[in-house]
Symmetry: C2
Subunit: 505 residues, 2 copies
């Protein structure tokens, strides 16, 4: 690929794609700035500016000239192997193009303006615990989500097109079945664990200055392989990873000075997303191939580095003495006590703080509520109550207010209802499936982790997953990497092994 | 104005202008990020991204539909008074439009790509003291500058169109005459001063931690009226002010821990630019009216707040005791010693560090070299030597290298040769002319400054200058505000008064 192509049509296609990419990257920077450094006075204009850029990017990408180029390139594409970079670029672009042209530009513009407005209102409504303030706009989001899905007629479930945007090849029925299987196995595990005495996690709650927390987290992700020459870390309210080019992949983190798990694990999590993006073949820069391939595969990488690696006993053999040096509160706390604290399983209210075992129950609640909303079985007005009911029935808890209820996650206030959450659980499932495959291929990985060495694992992921970007769809990639389709078995084995030991089940 | 207009053509014009504005604002944010937080790995893509946005903004602004709307709006414009916001918007837009359409889009694209490339190379060449590395690109900049000027045939001097971009209504011959007048008066003043014993400025060079320097500077600019809800300050290598909307006007500053003047006065300087932009009528948001009206008027505000206010004796009556509290190195330094140190006149090599009296000599050197380059009297190859010769003859100094010579300022490596520098001296001249008018209208301003109060001055500037944005051209504004055309007399009176006292002339 690169700029080596001899085909003038492909060259023209790449020039056009680069322009689209530049508009989208600029929009991403505007968003990053909004979430990190922007003064409050900039909010109104910023929403409009992102909306303008997104609209222009959509206009440019759906230009008929791109469609014509893709048609003209068919014979060239067919002359190449499926695995060739150029064929993959044409294939991935065609897939995205055919999807994008189904959505009218005027819809994109209206929806984009709407998202800017609801996001801004949500940032005020959440601290004020004021669901009513965003309810009318959220009703419009539901309408928009349905309207968007209806541009893709022939679906089995109205959520299918929305799920397909982030996890191509998945649909409501497959996710439902998968989640039902998983749930059946998880619920008894959660019950068995929570029947045990609660784990003491007080060691995580001594005071630790923010700056020191960040320093420690950075040391770990540097060891993981995160390249600070091609990225940086900033503070934000809601941690995320974002990318402006393959040479500039940033993460954001938040810290609580009385909770050392907060910044630490959100840093490890976002670094996993960033390692994926930093690892994409540099030749793909500026093309649709230069992105992680699906929401689920992306999340598999954040969860792998956060949990499977970062919450493992072996990992802390190396890092715990260093953490004790950095944080004197821990000097009299044993590694085992700390390890148990960071892996404490408990029913809780906040998804992003949830432990590995209950986390998926949070996701399933949201996934089910999305489907019910789209189906018309649930109204936005009744959503707060439905939220509380599901938490009561699934987790035995009721949030004191909507702030920690239906206002908790940004997703519905920054995008569609539908397709927003399934990727988290798909990611958990895949993280174990990929890690199993990696350790089967490279049996020294666990020992290296115990020594604070991550290069073998990082290189394996780089070689097998990261470099490919969106060259393969998630189902293609999973099959290619693991030899199997998506399976919940490795994940359940992982959970049972780890938590069976921890809770003596 | 606002969104109140009943005229549908004007409404359509404003919608189109808003789109152009959003692209330009996004480009400005990309630049701000490049200069503040961007990791080095982002550089290559960033240049291209800014170039894409600038090209699209130019394409959108020069769209024939805007020309047609401007034509169609003539009768409406003529039905309004010159001073009305709507008439001013149409007038200012037409002026900018007629200028922009003369420049072909393909030129803009080529030039924008070139600027991205030379800027990136300059950031490496300057620390390496390697003029040769940028010389070929600078030669291309000169070609581009000439090519650009030639899109505006009928000029008297090839620099005229370039000067006109930043200081409308000015041309090489008027600036030359003005500078010759000023120079004639300045040179004897510099000579008289530098014949005196050198001022001791060692009090400025004790160690002072960067964070404390920023805190103190922020306190002052807050008192000036800089609104941190609609702006922020960050660190950068080359201080600048930038704006993403009227609600988001940022400044950047650099600090040296052994030089307390560096961060302090660059902060006051940039805050002056920012006060101007923050003060523009909010109804102008997103239109060509929402910018300072010229380079010279902009600089008059930065210099007014930096020098006329911030380096005055009265100002430090209030702030010096506070500075002594903040910086213990000064506890045994008298206010008079400090005041003399921050106003020390000395021939030096670096424009941005130069004192008020010699500063204009630095500008004149650059202005003259620009004209010679454009005239073909000087080649880029010979520029480093010509630079050294002029410093030798005008300031009696020779820089040890090109880093502090011809590589010193970003301007030629981030834009045209021609039109880049005259605004600095025009600004100095205007700062005194405006301040004279302000104090004549509000005689209590000097006493308020002595008490750390700036509201009367700020309100006067807001009312008379800031709110208007680009509604009036600089010549119109100067006449309107002061009742006179641009004049060097107030500035010379100011310098002679202040430095006559300081150096007992």
């Amino acid at each position: 690929m690169n700029n080596q192509t001899q085909d003038p049509k492909l060259q023209e296609l790449k020039t056009r794609l680069l322009e689209v990419n530049d508009l989208r990257s600029a929009s991403s920077l505007l968003h990053w700035d909004q979430a990190t450094y922007m003064p409050s006075g900039g909010a109104a204009a910023r929403g409009r500016q992102m909306s303008t850029l997104n609209r222009l990017a959509h206009e440019k990408f759906t230009d008929g000239a791109i469609g014509q180029l893709l048609e003209d390139l068919r014979p060239y594409e067919e002359s190449l192997s499926f695995d060739s970079d150029e064929a993959s670029l044409i294939r991935a672009t065609r897939r995205d193009y055919e999807e994008a042209v189904k959505v009218p530009a005027e819809f994109e513009a209206r929806f984009s303006d709407h998202i800017a407005a609801i996001y801004q209102d949500w940032t005020a409504a959440r601290p004020n615990n004021d669901f009513k303030a965003v309810q009318p706009l959220l009703e419009k989001t539901l309408d928009f989500s349905r309207e968007l899905a209806d541009f893709f007629p022939g679906y089995e479930h109205i959520a299918d097109p929305l799920i397909n945007f982030s996890d191509r090849g998945m649909k409501a029925s497959t996710v439902r079945a998968l989640f039902a299987d998983l749930r059946q196995q998880l619920v008894p595990l959660v019950e068995a664990i929570t029947a045990q005495p609660k784990t003491d996690e007080s060691c995580l709650h001594g005071h630790w200055p923010e700056a020191e927390q960040f320093t420690f987290g950075r040391k770990i992700i540097k060891a993981y392989g995160y390249d600070f020459e091609r990225g940086r870390q900033d503070k934000t309210h809601h941690p995320f990873m974002t990318k402006f080019s393959l040479g500039d992949v940033r993460i954001t983190t938040r810290a609580k000075e009385d909770d050392l798990a907060e910044a630490l694990f959100s840093t490890l999590h976002e670094s996993g997303h960033a390692l994926y993006e930093q690892g994409i073949n540099q030749d793909y820069e500026g093309t649709p191939l230069a992105n992680g391939t699906s929401s689920g595969v992306h999340e598999s990488q954040s969860r792998l580095w956060e949990n499977i690696v970062g919450r493992s006993r072996g990992f802390w053999n190396h890092w715990y003495p260093l953490l004790q040096q950095a944080n004197s509160n821990l000097s009299n706390v044993s590694q085992d006590t700390f390890y148990r604290a960071i892996n404490r399983v408990d029913r809780s209210l906040i998804r992003t703080d949830a432990d590995e075992v209950t986390y998926n129950l949070h996701v399933m609640i949201r996934f089910d509520l999305e489907l019910q909303l789209l189906e018309g079985e649930l109204s936005v007005r009744d959503l707060p109550e439905a939220w509380h009911e599901r938490y009561k029935s699934d987790l035995g808890l009721t949030a004191p207010d909507d702030r920690d209820g239906v206002l908790q996650d940004v997703h519905w206030y920054g995008g569609t209802i539908g397709g927003a959450f399934q990727g988290y659980t798909l990611g958990n499932i895949l993280s174990a499936q990929f890690f199993d495959t990696a350790t089967a291929a490279q049996p020294k990985v666990p020992q290296e982790i115990e020594q604070g060495q991550f290069s073998t694992l990082h290189e394996w992921l780089q070689e097998n997953i990261y470099q490919h970007g969106s060259k393969y769809t998630a189902p293609e990639l999973i099959e290619r990497v693991t030899g199997d389709p998506l399976s919940i078995e490795p994940y359940l084995r992982y959970l049972r092994g780890k938590y069976g030991e921890l809770y003596s089940l």
